[in-house]
Amino acid sequence: MVEKLKKAEVLNLSFGYSPAVKVIRSINLPIYQNKVAALIGPSGCGKSTLLRCFNRMHDLYGQVKYEGEIKLYPESVNILSTTVDPIEVRMKVGMVFQKPNPFPKSIFENIAYGLRVRGIKKRSYIDDKVEDSLKKAGLWGEVSARLHTSAAALSGGQQQRLCIARALATEPDLLLLDEPTSALDPISTAHIEELLAELKKSVTILMVTHNLHQAARTADYTAFMYLGDLIEFGESDQIFTNPKEQRTENYITGRFG
């Protein structure tokens, strides 16, 4: 780890749907470029809530107030600021969800949609981009012959890789993965984990996972959260072999969670 270029940084962030109840409190967390960072912790610890701050998903559900900042580099803009348009944030920060959620359209249209939203109409560019993203998501070989058939016919694992391809097509600065393999079988899970190592060459990844082994296998950095607080953050090797905090150790050794 010679150079650690930050892609984003969470600064003293607190958030909750009602002002009285904060789901996450005073989080500070750096996100390094071209690395995979994992958020772990027991259910209800606020890891998904934190993840969804990165693309302002909470804004969809009424007036919300973020306290603190998430800075995106190199622009060094606080993407939680009220003057920043959440739509522009989502244009730069892609997301893959827990349950595969392809649109009930063709495979091609699923991937092209993000480009169309960005006003891109050039057919040749879209064609290239669809192929490129499917290749990156390791799905091209399986679907190249049936790009214009419905995405609903794909298996769960294929659908999730399609969702990754859909997010990649728009060239995000940061890719958010919200428990991307929790709804998948072990083989599809392994597939996606392999993919992450490949993907981080071109994109920075922040992932929420329930699966500690997955975090240990795939993440360069791991953050442990508990009851809305960030307990410990560090390189995965250190977190999983030599945690500094007692609570982290208790969690990764399976004493609770």
Binding site: M57, L60, I87, R90, G94, F97, N101, P102, V117
Partner: protein, 299 residues
């Protein structure tokens, strides 16, 4: 113990029969209605019946102006109710915040759906006929029926939109869509089956509706067609037909039923048969659409 079990089993068997009986009673009534109407009316059905105007002589009378009238009125109805109803449904499901105004609109729509159809006719008589001076015209009838079926379209639009899971919306927003892009590119296409089902059912209701049109004074003896909408000379299109008097199928039928002569009852049965076929076909279409789309989108 054994006896008790026997008794329970017998009870179940008896109720099964009772249930089947009451279901059959309803279905047999429907069937006998159709058969009775078909047997009485079928001999009158002919090309001439469709192409003749109303007449004092039962054997010469036909339903030409009635089916043309039904078609034109329903067109006006659809043009009012579909955009208004779908837009309202979209607003309430996708845009409306949780506040008293939304609550008011929702309660109001529930109430509108429960108002008897004839009160729509009374409102239309006061507002369209007398206040706006639209007279007893196709546009009055179309607007009246449009308002009448509006709640049906709103409710089915909302139900159709509600079946789309929220993770599909989130996927769309996460790609950077605006609200309208999400609605236009995803919500509307995926709910179109349900919306279409509702629209077809609503229009079939409009075609069969009689009472509100009687109160706005649908004339029952119309021996001419509305002005054609296209002409040979400039300006080629005309909207005069909107202000023309009209009659519609159910009113024509009502007119014939309420005459004492039996020959007219035969005409009524024939008109009823045509009307029934129209509405049942529309309903069958709706069931088919629902079935098709349910298979297309499995969430």
């Amino acid at each position: 113990m054994q006896k008790q079990v026997e008794r329970l089993k017998r009870q179940d068997a008896v109720f099964w029969l009772v249930g089947l009986g009451s279901l059959l009673f309803a279905l047999i009534t429907l069937l006998s209605l159709i058969v009775d109407m078909a047997m009485t009316g079928w001999p009158r059905i002919s090309a001439a019946f469709f192409m003749s105007f109303a007449s004092r002589f039962p054997e010469k009378a036909g339903i030409y102006s009635a089916w043309v009238g039904s078609l034109t009125v329903v067109m006006v109805t659809a043009m009012l109710a579909i955009p208004l109803g779908v837009a309202t449904g979209i607003y309430l499901e996708e845009y409306a915040g949780k506040n008293w105004l939304t609550k008011l609109i929702e309660i109001n729509i529930l109430n509108l759906a429960g108002i008897p159809s004839i009160t729509y006719g009374l409102m239309a008589l006061g507002i369209f006929v007398y206040h706006f001076q639209l007279g007893q015209s196709i546009i009055t009838a179309g607007l009246t029926l449009g308002l009448l079926i509006l709640p049906i379209i709103i409710v089915t639009t909302r139900e159709a939109i509600r079946t789309i899971p929220s993770h599909i919306r989130e996927a769309c927003y996460a790609l950077g869509s605006t609200k309208w892009q999400t609605v236009w590119n995803h919500i509307l296409p995926y709910s179109s089956g349900g919306i279409l089902t509702g629209v077809v059912i609503a229009l079939s209701r409009a075609i069969g509706e009689t009472a509100p049109l009687l109160t706005v004074g649908a004339l029952t003896f119309i021996a001419f067609l509305p002005t054609p909408p296209v002409m040979a000379e400039p300006p080629f299109v005309s909207f005069q037909w909107l202000l023309d008097p009209y009659t519609v199928m159910p009113i024509q039928m009502f007119n014939w039923v309420s005459r004492p002569q039996e020959e007219f009852h035969v005409n009524a049965a024939a008109a009823g048969l045509v009307l029934l076929t129209m509405t049942l076909l529309l309903n069958a279409t709706a069931i088919y659409i629902r079935y098709r789309f349910r298979r297309k989108y499995k969430w």
